[in-house]
Subunit: 224 residues, 2 copies
């Protein structure tokens, strides 16, 4: 009984959310703002990757960031300290972002000025995969210390993403992470996903990733 | 409106869950079975820690394991391969375990024979912290590569746990993880929490952790 009740509410909410996400994408097309939703487990390196990405793209694009967290403002502070427009969204216990929360976050940014906005979703490989945030593209980070079996365990996340960043590639020597096996598992779930090996810390692979992201953004905002 | 509807259902379900958890603990006291709920982010090393823990305790206690995952049976296979009674619970999309799911899992184990059962919860630092599983003690793993800021971001998880295992301590040299700062953040949330530094891979710290766990189990099952 409980499960049935829960699922009905969830379906209602997800249908409402889908409509809100579509409306948000129309609004972003109008303001010519590309929105990227970045997801991962806790501690995979989302904030550091956003900083490295913004550093690389900021000469060509006006960048903004929405930092989502259950609590705390540490990430938005880190981003703002680098001179990047940042909004902190505190979900107050919610384990994911939905389109209405993202729309609220975007109110804190000047969309007419910004070309690219990156959302740092809540650190979670489960719930964020179920909710369309209104983003134009979805990307996820899998960090090497988490292990190569994650596609087997969190398949939906790997299925909904356009790009996979394999971060902390500098930990590879210390670990038994099997890159080819991981790639094979991911490709089976999502043959079209773009895979980038990066280290947000050392900068390795950031050029390839940001080249792809820049092309996707340019196409959406009509600069292609 | 949506949020209000969701929260009401959630409160109903959580009250029902609390009652189910209390009933489960009474049943465990009767069968003299100590139940540990082990939580962490994806890839923090739950399965490897369970294997190292069972290896150390199995001469003194009959051990069983409940492996929870959205999908896949890889973890239960790893545990069973070591000759430990294991049940795989597939949550089919649910991001956490509740007491009724754990009760279902326990049906697959012989409680009259078992002294200690360890639940590997879904890899997630958010939702599992909100649901009483019926376990006698809660423990969590924070792995070094995830970073020392996790207590700031997922405070509820650190608050509900009796023990914190800081795993992958062998990665410390490669990382800027600040152990004293992390301990200070955790103690502020939960002054009574037991903190163990371990490496499930090398075995470091497993003796101290299992000594504590063994004492907790002995007290509950009346062997103290």
């Amino acid at each position: 009984m409980d499960a049935l009740r829960l699922i009905r509410v969830k379906e209602d909410i997800r249908a409402d959310n889908k409509a809100a996400a579509e409306a948000l994408r129309r609004r972003l097309a109008k303001s010519k703002t590309f929105l990227l939703n970045l997801m991962s487990a806790p501690g995979a390196g989302k904030t550091q990757t956003i900083l490295a990405t913004a550093e690389r793209l900021r000469d060509s694009y006006e960048i903004g960031v929405i930092e989502a967290d259950i609590e705390s403002t540490v990430d938005a502070e880190r981003v703002a300290a680098r001179g990047i427009s940042a909004v902190q969204l505190n979900t107050g216990g919610f384990c994911h972002l939905d389109a209405s929360m993202v729309a609220k976050g975007l109110e804190g940014l000047d969309l007419e000025r910004l070309d690219v906005v990156i959302i740092e979703n809540v650190g979670n490989l489960v719930c964020p995969a179920e909710f369309d945030t209104g983003a134009v593209r979805n990307a996820m980070i899998l960090s090497v210390p988490e292990g190569d079996d994650k596609p087997l365990k969190y398949p939906l996340m790997f299925t909904v993403c356009d790009a996979l960043l394999v971060n902390k590639i500098d930990y590879l020597a210390l670990s038994d992470f099997d890159l080819p096996a991981m790639r094979e598992r991911v490709r089976r779930l999502n043959p079209k996903i773009e895979i980038f090996e990066i280290s947000a810390k050392t900068g390795q692979g950031i050029e390839e990733w940001t080249a792809w992201l820049g092309r996707e953004a340019a196409t959406f905002i009509g600069r292609g």
